[in-house]
């Protein structure tokens, strides 16, 4: 009887599996089918563009899809159909949901032509074969704007030397270490204004602030902003991670060619010591490692006075009711660049060539990108300062009730786009970019192919997940050294040396060219 039961179960499962298998294969052939149709229509496009391409493009939002999204979509099509014969359909989803949904859509064969990848690692998608290589679609003739921009700015994301993603053109490039601090509190301390401050000068300023405002914690060192790829060390001391991820090693100086294990350097130990001292002196928020309040909230309510942030011009434009200024702790620099946001084309796309053509047009036409970013002029916004590209909400609207308020600016060439706040001018942005470009690390233009050491990287991430937040926020007080030693030895066991060696090997090859 038992054997009969077992046998029946086996049969049922096998039947189900084979049924699923047949349909799955059907889905696969469908996929390759549309793939070849795509290349056909590309050939058609060069001869006689009759059919309007229909593109499905993801539209990421924060809390809810804007009410007027369809209106804007119509306005977009009013531009794109006559110009490049492309019809756009937005596919809205929450930014937090994109993490799960992209792979699910691709795995089930759903047609999407352009996906905005925000804050995820594009390598995951490359390694599991989910996205298309874009090299074939980008060329001087087919996509002139993209091509020329690519020469100037790092907007193409490469993995193993093939292009897989396109980033928006940033308003500026590079990073400058330092902190953003409340202007009023800083001026109260009477400390002199300099270009670059040393770390103990920061301590002096913190002490002065704490004296005048005892219930305020001068520094917010949020654990939530610390990820395994994002050490706070760079925020204060500079340097560059050639592999993107700190696990793959660090270049300490602009002219360094040797990649070191950041966690074993004296500088890193001093950094941890500094944070621990600040924490113990009461300069850092006590629950820094675990709170999920944002820097903005903390600053606005007066709980903190400063936080570490790259000294980019737009940081100083924020208005909390009080102004902020910066205290830089190092020079501007730029090194290996791994875009945080990437447009990618999934393998389920019906027409990759048209998708890239749309991208090219988006980068070149600021009307289009302003439309998607800010809505319809007159209905949603009005221009306040045309020279500096500043706009304000249309009359009667504000951030809470505007039917079109897109906070996520991932579209096109950001330099030409309108902004709501009197953010820095184009000149300021360009000056910042210039300063950073004048201080290029040797890793500029390098990208690390981590496919062979992905297991070690994962193991290192696990170790960092456990210790990094507590250590880098100084939360352990004077007992940090033991935990630090544990972390270093566990990283060694996880294979960080192998990852760094592999990165060095690829880096040497890159330098030899």
């Amino acid at each position: 009887m038992k054997r009969k039961v077992l046998a029946l179960i086996m049969v049922a499962v096998m039947l189900m599996a084979s049924f699923a298998g047949c349909s799955n294969k059907g889905g696969e052939t469908e996929n390759t089918g549309t793939g070849s149709a795509g290349t056909d229509s590309q050939a058609e496009a060069t001869s006689a563009p009759e059919k309007t391409e229909h593109l499905i493009i993801t539209y990421l939002y924060m809390a809810a899809a804007p009410a007027d999204l369809l209106k804007v979509q119509d306005a977009v099509n009013a531009i794109t159909v006559p110009a490049i014969n492309v019809e756009v359909e937005f596919k809205p989803l929450g930014i937090g949901d994109s993490f799960t949904n992209y792979s699910l859509w691709i795995s089930s064969g759903e047609t999407v032509d352009l996906m905005m990848l925000a804050f995820q690692d594009i390598k995951n998608y490359v390694n599991s074969g989910q996205i298309e290589e874009l090299d074939a679609y980008i060329s001087e003739e087919a996509t002139p704007t993209l091509y020329s921009l690519m020469q100037e700015f790092p907007i193409a994301t490469r993995v193993a030397d093939k292009i897989y993603g396109l980033s928006p053109v940033g308003v500026n490039y590079g990073d400058k270490p330092g902190i953003i601090i409340r202007k009023d509190y800083f001026e109260e301390t009477g400390y002199e204004v300099k270009d670059i401050y040393a770390m103990d000068e920061l301590t002096t300023v913190f002490a002065a602030i704490k004296e005048k405002h005892p219930e305020c914690y001068p520094l917010s060192a949020l654990g939530s902003a610390i990820t395994a790829g994002n050490s706070q060390f760079g925020m204060y001391y500079g340097g560059n991670a050639p592999g993107g991820n700190i696990n793959a090693g660090y270049l300490m100086e602009a002219d360094s060619t040797t990649i070191v294990n950041l966690f074993e350097t004296e500088e890193y130990k001093n950094f941890l010591n500094q944070m621990a001292q600040w924490y113990q002196a009461g300069y850092i928020v006590p629950d820094a490692a675990t709170t999920d309040t944002s820097n903005n909230e903390l600053l606005q309510t007066g709980k903190v006075a400063a936080y570490a942030m790259s000294q980019k011009p737009e940081q100083f434009a924020s208005d909390y009711g009080f102004k902020v200024t910066g205290m830089a702790t190092g020079a501007g620099r730029i090194g290996a660049f791994y875009g945080a946001t990437n447009w990618m084309v999934p393998i389920t796309s019906s027409n990759p060539a048209a998708a890239i053509k749309f991208m090219d047009y988006l980068y070149s036409d600021s009307n289009l990108s302003n439309l998607i970013l800010n809505g319809i002029e007159g209905t949603h916004y009005k221009v306040v300062d045309p020279d500096n590209n500043v706009i304000a909400f249309a009359d009667g609207l504000d951030a809470t009730n505007s039917p079109y308020y897109n906070l996520l600016g991932f579209w096109g060439d950001r330099r030409n786009e309108y902004t709501f706040s009197a953010s820095a001018t184009r000149q300021q942005h360009d000056a910042f970019t210039q300063e950073c470009m004048n201080n290029k690390f040797k890793s500029y233009g390098f990208n690390f192919n981590s496919a062979d050491v992905s297991n070690q990287i994962l193991a290192c991430q696990t170790v960092l997940d456990q210790y990094q937040k507590a250590l880098e926020t100084g939360s352990l007080g004077d007992k940090w050294e033991k935990t630090y030693n544990d972390m270093v030895s566990q990283l060694k066991n996880a294979g960080i040396d192998q990852v760094i060696a592999e990165c060095q090997r690829q880096f040497d090859e890159f330098l030899a060219q």
Binding site: F19, Q130, D287, T290, N455, V463, D465, S475, A494
Partner: protein, 309 residues
């Protein structure tokens, strides 16, 4: 010849309506559970979506390696098992006690109020509970540090960096959330016990204690055993909200709070590798399956009618 035909006819007459009753559930089970079963092979494949699930290369047991190669492999397994053992034991003793006591309370209004309130934590989502945990345990402003410990003049405890208290915290919160649920399940059975038994026992002069021991508990035995076996099947699983959201995924607490599920989640936040997540799931399933079969066989030898299959 005639009677044999008649017997077959009668059988069909009875069987058909029963098959009808079984039909919706069967269809649902096939669609919801058995159709997607092919997904299990993802655990053994190096999945490449260009080739599709069935066309991808076989990876053998490669996807399982990450579960065992981490330095924490033993730690997370130990945590998972130990907590589950404690939960199983407490999950039998406490809800039954509460259900029996609840049944003794005569006032209907009191009954309603108690049951509603005790069930309250069950209805809350873990995100909310983690905020509330923070409200109590936070170093600076948490209720315990700010109001209780300060009143006694003791130094504050950094709960989110110090793992010593967490086994207690986790067990407490788990019970707090689960008592209502457990009580409801056992209460349904307790309430279903015919009053005739109790009246007969009272006439025979049995005390309350004796009544509980000889009537209530034996009537609950099938439910207890069933729940016990089912919980064994979940031995390698853990409540994600309890072990990840409540401790706010604080790394310093991993020694006391990391389970197989939280480890897998953290690893996959980074790599988003379906093969690996599927492998973890298969790993947990197989262990659970073995435990369930073993437990059932053991129970069969002790009291046959209580075994599940």
């Amino acid at each position: 010849m005639d009677t044999a035909k008649k017997r077959k006819k009668i059988r069909w007459k009875k069987a058909l309506p029963i098959y009808l009753l079984l039909l919706p559930g069967t269809i649902y089970m096939l669609i919801n559970n058995y159709l997607p079963m092919f997904g299990i092979i993802i655990a053994f494949k190096n999945i490449n979506f260009k080739k599709g699930i069935f066309g991808s290369d076989w990876a053998g047991f490669d996807n399982f390696k990450f579960l065992f190669s981490s330095g924490n492999a033993w730690l997370m397994t130990r945590n998972t098992i130990l907590y589950n053992l404690v939960f199983i034991i407490l999950g039998i003793v406490i809800p039954i006690t509460v259900a029996i006591l609840m049944n003794e309370i005569r006032s209907k209004i009191a009954n309603r109020i108690y049951q509603t309130l005790i069930l309250l934590p069950f209805l809350m989502s873990w995100v909310v509970i983690s905020y509330l945990g923070y409200a109590f345990l936070s170093l600076e402003t948490g209720y315990i540090n700010d109001s209780i410990l300060k009143a006694f003049g003791k130094p504050p405890i950094d709960f989110y960096q110090d793992k010593t208290w967490w086994p207690l915290i986790i067990i407490f919160v788990h019970q707090w959330k689960g008592i209502g649920f457990g009580m409801v399940i056992y209460l349904a059975s307790v309430v279903g016990i015919s009053q005739d038994y109790f009246e007969a026992a009272k006439i025979d002069g049995a005390t309350k204690w004796q009544q509980i021991k000889s009537i209530t508990l034996p009537c609950l035995k099938p439910t207890i055993i069933t729940l016990f076996i089912l919980n064994l099947g979940r031995m390698f699983y853990s409540d994600f909200g309890l072990f990840y959201q409540l401790p706010r995924n604080s790394g310093m607490l991993y020694g006391a709070t990391q389970t197989i599920d939280t480890f897998v989640y953290n690893a996959l936040m980074v790599q988003n590798n379906y093969g690996m997540s599927s492998a973890a799931s298969v790993y947990q399933s197989i262990v659970g399956f073995i435990l369930v079969v073993l437990a059932n066989e053991t129970i069969k030898r002790i009291s046959r009618e209580d075994a599940m299959f």
